[in-house]
Symmetry: C2
Subunit: 313 residues, 2 copies
Amino acid sequence: MNSLMKVLITGASGFTGRYLIKHISEKCASAKNRPEIYGLYNSSKPKSSESCRFIKADICNVSEIEDLISSVKPDYIIHLAGERRGSYEEQFRLNAVGTVNLLEAVRKHCNKSRILVVSSSAVYGYAGEMPISEDNPLRPVGAYGVSKAAGEMAALSFTRQYGMNITVARPFNLFGPGQNEDFVTGKIVKYTGEIIAGLRESFDLYSLDSGRDFVDVRDAVRAYWDIISSPVFEEKCRGEVFNIGSGDAFTVRDVIVALEIITSHKITVNLPSEILPEIVPTQKSDITKIKNTVGWVPEYNFEKTLTDMLKEY
Amino acid sequence: MNSLMKVLITGASGFTGRYLIKHISEKCASAKNRPEIYGLYNSSKPKSSESCRFIKADICNVSEIEDLISSVKPDYIIHLAGERRGSYEEQFRLNAVGTVNLLEAVRKHCNKSRILVVSSSAVYGYAGEMPISEDNPLRPVGAYGVSKAAGEMAALSFTRQYGMNITVARPFNLFGPGQNEDFVTGKIVKYTGEIIAGLRESFDLYSLDSGRDFVDVRDAVRAYWDIISSPVFEEKCRGEVFNIGSGDAFTVRDVIVALEIITSHKITVNLPSEILPEIVPTQKSDITKIKNTVGWVPEYNFEKTLTDMLKEY
């Protein structure tokens, strides 16, 4: 008599969290023992859902996290919670110390659990025009990249020190339907929608030339699940890092041009008189490792994602 | 009319800090304009000294550090302060956030200052038997190595983002006269002295086989000063990382054997019945880069340092 598998997702109310819960529950809908999904959130309360039990908890509150882990004892943990804004101190607190709090609790109460720590391509900084592999040195710029790098180094240290089943994912620039204005693509799609609706004539951007590897959030959550549920997890994923990207770089200008084609509308963008040089002018992923290890490749293409985003802007 | 050069040292009351103040004041004794040295300390008050003005300040107190930097406006800063013990949270606070606090203050008030951030070989973790160059990936094990890696990544990010004159030093295992029992060599020398004095018969160690690159603290402080005072600092050191080591690996057993030869005494060590495998079994530095850039090489050899340590145990 098997007990149900338990999956814990931190950052469950975020953009990625919502897609991840949907993906797991759909993917496992026909499974004999559908997993129980626990979704941790802190700031914004998610809409109630049949497929997930939401729990409010603060990743920085050690005893709260420990109580939670010791009572749930999840089999799989996908750690999305983090902070993209604020001071170094705030981002270290969430992205590095918060990750450690979670891992310490797992170490004490269910040290065989599989854990996927979701980091960011921001840890690479600028690495040239070539595709970036997981072996590239980490040269983050700014508090977000530095604190995410600290969090993933702590995670890999737990594997080295205690043999825990931890894997790090480094998603490149996520985009997808429902993404908000905090992200450049979310912002452009929203304002494009407003231009088409006649609500505005133009909008402001800082520059058009920075290149990024855009990956659909629906592809990314599939990658997270493919890694953590892989039959070769302990053998080939534990202690490893996996890039999750499209393998292509598109500029902000490419986003605008694609939207102009999709919508047949002219999109007017206002740029500053003096454009400052970008510290990270471009980034493109090498995704050979995840492809060869768990067989994941992205399925959505750039235009398809933008089209879907426009429908839901 | 030149104003005096000002040198600020954080962690001034520590083992390295004391040697660094001594080195700078001796090295610059005959200089036309001897630099003013400011020594920051927090926990233990240093003995008063003619060559250094000591100031109590907490690196984690943002306004305290900002007031200090804005009033002193140091030309050179050598950042030694940090924490080797305690939880991840405590060590992140001192080693990462504390470093950021210092750099933020410098950015605001004297952004052309030269800064040497002293990190640690602990950021490398285990990298095999071969000499470790600065390009080796960072694989720290435990809170100290992870938090030091976070601190140096933050420092290098300030150079990338704001063009600040920051260099990172990675000292390997420091030893030297006056080192306390918190460090393995300090502990072995102290107990060896006590055995010779007839105060004890033996002492306990965890293992004899871990190999480390031992570098004399007097060599290390010379390296710090050679880097920060180099005429090629802005051109060849800024944004760079330098290993500071001997280029050799000695085991704990080698330390014991050397002390037996130096003292002509048998040293009895008690080991646990079961010796656990070391996560970092050995470490050895490649010091080509500092040699080629500022011409530094170590001058003390292993036996000389141990002999000097025994005199002052």
